[in-house]
Amino acid sequence: MMTRIGKLMVLICVFVLVGALTAPAAEDPIKIGIVSPVSGNYGDHGKLERMGMKAALEEFGSKVLGRPVELVVADSETNPDVAARRARRLIEVDGCKYLMGAVSSSVAAAISAVATENKVLYFATNGNSDTLNASKANTYMFHVAPSMAMLVRGGADYVAKNIGKKWFYITHDYSWGHSGTAWARASAKKLGVTEVGEIKVPLGTRDFSSQLLQARQSGADVLVVTMAGFDNVALLKQLAEYRIYDKMKVWYTLMEFVDMWPLKPEQRQAYANVEVYWNENDKTRAFAEMLQKNNPDTPCPMPLDNGTYEGWLAMKILLTGIQKAGTDDVDSVIKTIEGLEIKDNMRKYPTRVRAWDHQVITQIDLIKANPKATGPAMWDVIDEVDAATVARTKAENPINVSISK
């Protein structure tokens, strides 16, 4: 026979148990799938973009709308098929509503196709091909890195007026490389520049001796290069080996700090367009120092490279969008991000997200490598250009992927 006290105790226990079982669970995390190269031609670039993403997430205290944010990383292997498969897995198995990453444009296009099909929001962080905000643009993808149109037009005027008017092109033979050379050609026409030749180089080329022998004898005064990754490290080394700088100036339509850093100072002599330079101003310097302190295994010192910056910016835009939308509903977040402006971006010009083509617009720098610089301050900034002045206009790119159209 149970006493009243006993019954009360049992009742209290039952209440406690039921309460424990029905208490609101801790908020589910918001999962962001990162499809980014851990291996392959762009492995080190992938590492940098992930460092940038993590830094932005930490600025938000790893939370948004009071919910923890979890990053799930998958290796794209710089391979569109692999990346598409892994993106699908991140959506279907890991339950990611947002995807981010990709260094190469062809990989970004593959991930974008999977994201659109599943109505998942995708940020193409570091592919620079124009197709990402033209023929392959869609409502569920934002293109964070500047397109090649912006990069090339950000430097072509200066190069034609101050460096030389006879151009020879070396082009990485895939969509991104082609767009670099195509925009340089388009600018060249307007600027009275003569083209004296072009060599297309297959992805994965390590020896450029025959191409450089031809460039040397072409009579060009500017070698216009669109090339990236480990191939580019080998090319940069061979530009010095074949004394190209004695014959002509070299202008890169896009350069990564991490590609040029491994060279000896005297081998660094090119001009280049870059998306950011760590030594641009006090804010970028402080950010680069913080990154270096927090990432002892960084691929290069002062690791605020193009990839790092675009990774940081993509995460900042996404988290700001979710916060402002007050929900993690993908369509509402897209609506909020369209037209968003971010002023605290460490740069001279603000970041703007265009609604009609989903292109993120910030700033282009033209740099000249300094062969006397022994430390990581190996570049001098020659020009800072507002990317809005060189981005494609609606007339040049008549599309509209806005969710509100």
């Binding site: 992938g46 025959s210 290069c300």
Partner: protein, 288 residues
Amino acid sequence: MSLFINLFVNGVILGLLYATIALGFSLVLGVSGVLNFAHGVLFALGAYGYWVLKDFMGFWPAMAGATLIVGVIGVVVERLLVRRVYGEDPLFGLVITMGFAMAIEQVLHMIFGAAAKTVNPPAFAQGVLFLGDMMVPYYRLFVALCCVVVLTGTWLVLNNTAFGAIVRAGMYDSEMVSALGHDLPLLRTAVFALGAMAAAFSGVLASSIWSIKPGMGGAFLMPSFLVVLIGGLGSIRGTVLGGLIVGLTTSLLSLVIPRFVDIMPYVIMAVVVYFWPRGLLGKQNILE
């Protein structure tokens, strides 16, 4: 015309280097019947070994040290892994060596990081030789000379020594070599170690031209395979010929159709294998 000659010379140098890279691959395949897909990573290990040692010693000791260390690694790999697949379908050898290569590539990644490293040629081989319009960096001439020495040396050893005679016999009929009382397992270990050393030696030479990265061997694995298939299995002369064909094709075609330079060796390989299934200078071998 001077450009053509310059590209031709350049193609010969590249060809000699490709032949040297493929030499170890060819020897191991010929004697042991193993498709050694760890060949590329042994090439990378040679480059990294040199990169580490060059800060402690001069060019020559660092080169010798890296080559010997990788030779020892080759002995260990052969004893622990490759030995298990002798006599099996070549696919087993391919899978086991590929697995080893992937693991080691990740280890290199963890130790040295993903970013590329560059090394300058040794002081005595810096600078460029100019002949009118033509130019050849001294280091590339030095590379060609080293390759000629290694290829000729290997050819002389195989054709003029007792060890070479056993190796060549092993390429035709390993069972008979064993039946005649020769230590076949030891022979295969020695050949694998030599192959690893040749890969490492090429890695040291290539490091000053193409820079160093964990996955650098991958770019030269398939060309090595092509060189062996075109030139013919079990023939040093065939390996040199295959290397020169790939090198000259790569260099000269960049003048005409640069976009197809990396596809053309495959086309040549397909044509050669169609008409000469053993390769241009191949002989009967243990794979048949």
